[in-house]
Subunit: 141 residues, 4 copies
């Protein structure tokens, strides 16, 4: 699991008085920084790899200015060229939003998707969603 | 169908050289302006009604700075308190993204969802997605 | 003078109930699109030219969601490598903000500023701020 | 002095390959959080106080994705109803931007500016820019 803490900004609120819904995709993308880094370890961003193809975002509770937010990111599926992430956003103890994001490992120069390299798959597996369940099972023993 | 034209901004691009994926939810929300206006015709936004509960966004093609974008919005389902929108984003002739957004008619004061008023339902029906298909059929006759 | 119309977005408001102050630099930059186009007419943005070096922004009145905004942009000074713009933002009849932006014609490859080409200077002169005053004087005759 | 660390987001970059200039006002505002908190300690944001009236922002160096940014904020002048802040943005050892922001203590209900309360002035004085110089002098002794 990857985890980051985000301090909401005034500019991320809206006239309804809460965090605007369009802020959440920005935060979820920010939380994927360590995954982007896996695909571009040398920080050569002209060779950017991870292109989003689908997001499914459920807004469960309003989020407010004045209190930090935690985002946790797991890997839910690794395909040959694609990757499905599962993300949870908490403010305090409250689960406020759940997101799934499908990415493809894309070569911008050739405009073709490419296999995810084995060493990256191996690293991603350490953040697999099922691991959490297993861990919970282990906690019971 | 509701339709708006958006001119991409430099600040909406990213280092990959295209429009950043987090810009699309902003544009799709901007395209819903006439629907928000239906629910808040007197522009009293302290009494804001439409709260998003889920979005499903498919990114089909990269979008670039330098060429206008068209967003078309249809109503796909009207429930008692909720509303499902279907949205298409074109740049030139290319369909670049498809979004579904589920909204609920929410009373922020009571923190309860409320039935969508009949006069709004009637107006929304004029923008129903099926109508387009029917219209296409009629065009054939 | 360059002029564009902008429809405020919900995501550009904040919890105070008005347009957030950080939205204005975004809008002013959007209004400079025709000037950027002068420097990059072939839309090859890897060769981007105009780099901002200073902005001075006065917020005169609150701006609200629900009503279009007009931004007018003039050229106030053309140096050898730099350019000073003067920008006014209106909502209805009200002048809500005034901005000055200093840009330099920068070569990102060499990391050096370059002289503004004569054909661009000539074009920019047609949008000079003093012209307006002269035009006003002419209107009196 | 107030200090915060910001991790740049992909969505804050632009097609030139660096952080877009419109991102900086967002970051500088985020850095003023503790000052906003002084004026709204009970987090009742319907009673928001601090309204920006002018910003003067100098862009000294390009800022890039992939490395944290530090923003330091000082109080430079306290008037009866207004406040002038001085802000520096560093990436690594490099000073990348300097901003001044003038705020007024504004009552949105009455639409009038109000005197800054003495207990807030006292607190703000602890973050005065001159103090830094004095401290430097003291360090020499």
């Amino acid at each position: 699991m990857f985890e980051i803490i985000i301090t909401p900004r005034i500019s991320e609120t809206d006239l309804v008085g809460h965090i605007n819904n369009t802020t959440l995709p920005v935060w979820f993308e920010a939380a994927r920084y360590p995954i982007f880094h896996l695909f571009n370890p040398n920080q050569d961003y002209k060779d950017w790899k991870m292109i989003v193809v689908k997001t499914t975002l459920e807004y469960k509770r309003q989020i407010f200015f004045g209190k930090d937010v935690v985002i946790r990111t797991w890997v839910k599926h690794i395909g040959n060229t694609s990757l499905r992430l599962y993300e949870e956003l908490y403010q305090g103890d409250l689960l406020c939003a759940v997101n799934e994001a499908v990415y493809v490992n894309f070569n911008l120069a050739t405009q073709q998707s490419e296999s995810i390299p084995p060493h990256i798959k191996k690293e991603l597996l350490q953040h697999f969603y099922e691991e959490q369940s297993l861990q919970n099972v282990n906690d019971l023993n």
